[in-house]
Symmetry: C2
């Protein structure tokens, strides 16, 4: 039997220490969970769209969400992203698990306004759909005013990142199938809104082409 | 122009009030974020594998994770799942968004032990990969002892669920392409561990067949 699976298994749940690995994970997902603590000391979570912009995380949302509003007022936050890459099917239930990527960033976010809010909103749009900002007009002042944009700096000692890769190990039951079932993700064919006669734009074509 | 997109747009960010809709969302994702509040009042998040089991959420994990350990000792938790279903490409950056499913469940989890832990671990395995529990041996007592299993009851007033569906709306720029780009997800072909000569089991075949 190859020693390869054993080597891979040893790497499971590996904590990452390199920022570039953290950034890879943050850049590979689009939805995260933002959590603050409310006045009663209870955790309040809200899912958010986000973008990594250099050494900070940008999120935008509504003042209607309690977690978001508190974060805008300087409450400490935890921001978490996690995505499964494969189901790991071991020889026992106990050894079965999942390959995944995850990151948690803690800190205090700050509310952006004025030009910095405009720049951040454009960055958010550009990360979510690269090229789109060149195809449509920029944000109007009233649109910027209606949006809450937060920036969370990624500070050393305030983030963790993990990635489990590898196989299902040997396990004590050699006759039982072991292996991984990968999660496959991608973008499907775009669906035009009724009444749209324009061509599918380059931003969408490039996104789908990967 | 059809009124259909306008109707859909009105439903955006719709809060759901029906438990069956909450359960649909919880049953459609495998990874969530569990958050507790630490002794300093700061939120601490950890990604977890989970399963909905009737009107409760089961999670298992390591006592090494602070959030998990505190949850096991009765600290209030927020449990959040979120998944993007489509990028919504509107006529303006401001109106662009995402279709998504999300749920947040708050409460106090309890640690399961003895037979209830065994049953919960089997349920977790069975939800993650239906049928697998009939293909391999059950958990050994030492395996149960080494695993922390928490149950979080889903209590009315302590959960929220949202689902945005629909299109990109009309927007003020009729000549600009508008539409949605769906996220496509699935399971890829299973990869057997080196040294595995057993057939791909029914559980894995059924998972991939959907």
């Amino acid at each position: 039997m190859s020693t390869q699976p054993r080597q891979l298994t040893r790497k499971k749940d590996r904590g990452l220490t390199d920022r570039t690995e953290l950034y890879d994970i943050l850049d590979s997902t689009l939805v995260g969970t933002l959590t603050t603590v409310d006045a009663d000391g209870l955790p309040v979570s809200v899912p958010v769209l986000y973008a990594r912009d250099g050494d900070r995380i940008l999120v935008h949302g509504s003042t209607g969400a309690g977690a978001f509003r508190r974060a805008a007022h300087g409450a400490p936050v935890a921001f978490c992203v996690a995505e499964m890459d494969a189901l790991v099917v071991a020889a026992t239930l106990f050894d079965s698990s999942a390959n995944y990527r995850s990151a948690v960033v803690n800190g205090v976010a700050r509310t952006l306004d004025g030009d910095s809010a405009v720049v951040a909103l454009t960055t958010l749009s550009e990360v979510l759909l690269p090229g789109r900002t060149t195809e449509v007009r920029g944000h109007l002042p009233k649109e910027v005013a209606a949006t809450l944009v937060l920036a969370l700096d990624i500070v050393d000692g305030e983030w963790t990142a993990k990635r489990r890769v590898g196989g299902a190990g040997d396990g004590p039951e050699p006759g039982v199938w072991r292996g991984v079932v990968p999660v496959v993700r991608g973008w499907g064919a775009p669906i035009a809104e009724a009444g749209t006669d324009a061509e599918v734009p380059a931003s969408v074509r490039d996104l789908i082409a990967g």
